[in-house]
């Protein structure tokens, strides 16, 4: 029996945290949560998730980036999904389609809030399969 894959979700919106937990637990993952950048950083010292979902704006405007940077330094191959409300609140489009932009922001996927269940499940599954499929290194 293969043990469940671990997903870490960090978001300061208690409701979104609960909803994402339901969705991803329902999809068969083990979910750990933290409600701030600081809490997330602390948690990363004790667990190594298989994938992480970070909200962009928490204590700081760029908490999600900071967390992602922090995580990639510890575990460079753990994929990160960044959640933003940037588009819906400012009308700015925030897409990092090019490889260049992706390497700069150091996240693997950016999803706009509100996030649909099917969307997050499929992105999580895809990113995890990409990691698995890659040769060990």
């Amino acid at each position: 029996m293969e043990s469940k894959q671990k997903v870490l979700i960090v978001d300061d919106d208690e409701d979104l945290l609960e909803q994402l937990t339901q969705i991803l637990e329902g999809a068969g993952y083990e979910v750990r949560t933290a409600a701030s950048q600081a809490e997330g950083e602390e948690m990363l010292l004790s667990i190594r998730p298989d994938l992480a979902v970070f909200d962009l704006m928490m204590e700081e405007m760029d908490s999600g980036f900071m967390l992602s940077h922090y995580l990639k330094k510890l575990y460079s191959d753990v994929p990160v999904i960044l959640l933003t409300a940037v588009t819906s609140s400012t009308g700015l489009s925030f897409q990092e389609s090019s490889t260049e932009a992706r390497s700069w922001v150091k996240v693997d996927e950016v999803l706009d809030k509100p996030v649909r269940a099917e969307q997050i499940k499929s992105v999580v599954a895809r990113l995890l399969s990409e990691v698995k499929g890659a040769p060990d290194g």
Binding site: D15, E18, Q22, I23, G26, E39, A117
Partner: protein, 384 residues
């Protein structure tokens, strides 16, 4: 600040032009409150055609316009200016001190007139009046813009605050619809509890908003009677006793003497309820809330203290503004509209009073409201 107003002087007599320029080129006008000073950048024109060309090139703020000009006469220039540049103030120079000319010019849109022959002092006077008019109008426009901006900001934040609980509830409903947590109903208990909480929060926001609108519009009929602040405090404590009990928070009215004042009962209830409910909400479990109502000769002082999470100085400084909610580890999961204390502040100001806070992080806060005990009726009925 040294600002310039553009002044165009139009006259066909070269001596008169030179004299006016001399009188005004170093002239400065201050606003009545002396907060601003302006100087004049002067252009001249010797006839109507030149004047119109110069106006089209760079629109002046003030035109000193001779009534009698060769070719296009003064009244024709005035007519064009009032049609095309309604913000420009035109001062007619009338050759004869006849009332008819002045009346005619004023009817056609001239701001003022000065009769020839005039002294430099007379000229300065009439220019000063026009300059002050322009500065006042500008200031009024700036204030109106500032108000519009604040209004827009308020509405943007409000829209966000209303959208957020809707998104949360929608998210839970979608989860339940899709059975994301399986088939057991109990798996959705938290979804339901959180949804209800967010709906309640939204309702509170709407009530607070209505309170705020009533206060700010000044439309609500205020009913000033003799009311017992002590009784209102007792009622507020009773209203919140269930919440307090649930978290083992002790509440006490620490002053027993009956304090009365001249006030609108509903307004005092809002002040008291908002303060006491905050003291419970931001308290720690097993904490304590103390309420005191104290009477001075001309004031009534309401003090509400708690043993809660407290505030830093920076947090305390912005606490009383619209939609300010202190966001940190300790306030996570506590819902609020962000309007409660803004409402308290605005209500207190109706009583010539104010709210202040003293606080130590992790130890607690003390809110103090000072109200005028017998507000004068005109001040009290003003509503803003």
């Amino acid at each position: 600040m040294n600002e310039h107003l553009h002044l165009l002087i139009v006259d066909d007599e070269p001596g008169m032009l030179a004299g006016a320029v001399r009188a005004l080129k170093d002239y400065r006008v201050q606003t009545l409150d002396e907060s601003e000073e302006v100087r004049f950048e002067i252009a001249t024109a010797e006839n109507g055609e030149v004047a119109l060309r110069k106006i089209a090139g760079e629109c002046p703020d003030i035109i000193l316009l001779d009534y009698k000009l060769p070719g296009v006469n003064g009244l024709e220039v005035l007519q064009k200016v009032t049609e095309q540049y309604p913000d420009v103030l035109t001062i007619m120079i009338t050759a004869y001190a006849t009332l008819e000319t002045a009346v005619l010019a004023t009817k056609q849109g001239a701001y003022d007139f000065v009769a020839k022959p005039f002294t430099p002092a007379e000229l300065k006077n009439v220019v000063q009046k026009a300059a002050r008019h322009i500065l006042l109008a500008r200031r009024a426009r700036q204030l109106a813009e500032e108000r519009r901006r604040i209004r827009f900001e308020f509405i943007s934040i409000l829209a966000h605050e209303l959208k957020s609980p809707l998104n949360a509830v929608e998210g839970y409903l979608r989860g339940m619809r899709d059975h994301v947590a399986g088939e057991e109903l109990a798996a959705y208990d938290k979804s339901i509890a959180r949804s209800l909480l967010r709906v309640n929060g939204m309702r509170k926001l709407i009530y607070d908003l209505l309170d705020l609108t009533r206060i700010e519009s000044g439309e609500k009929k205020r009913n000033l009677t003799r009311v017992s602040v002590t009784d209102i405090a007792k009622e507020a404590l009773a209203n919140l006793s269930e919440d307090a009990l649930g978290r083992d928070i002790e509440m006490e009215l620490e002053s027993t003497a009956n304090v009365e004042m001249q006030a609108d009962r509903g307004e005092l209830e809002i002040i008291m309820n908002n303060l006491v409910s905050n003291a419970v909400k931001y308290n720690t479990d097993g904490g304590r809330v103390g309420v005191r109502v104290l009477a001075g000769e001309e004031t009534v002082i309401i003090e509400v203290d708690d043993t809660g999470i407290g505030l830093t100085e920076e947090e305390a400084a912005r606490l009383f503004n619209d939609f300010v909610r202190i966001k940190n580890e300790k306030t996570r999961g506590i819902l609020g509209s962000g309007l409660g204390l803004a409402i308290v502040r605005k209500l207190a100001s109706l009583y010539g009073g104010e709210v202040s806070v003293e606080s130590t992080p992790d130890e607690g806060s003390k809110f103090t409201v000072v109200l005028t005990r017998y507000p004068r009726s005109e001040a009290a009925s003003m509503g803003s």
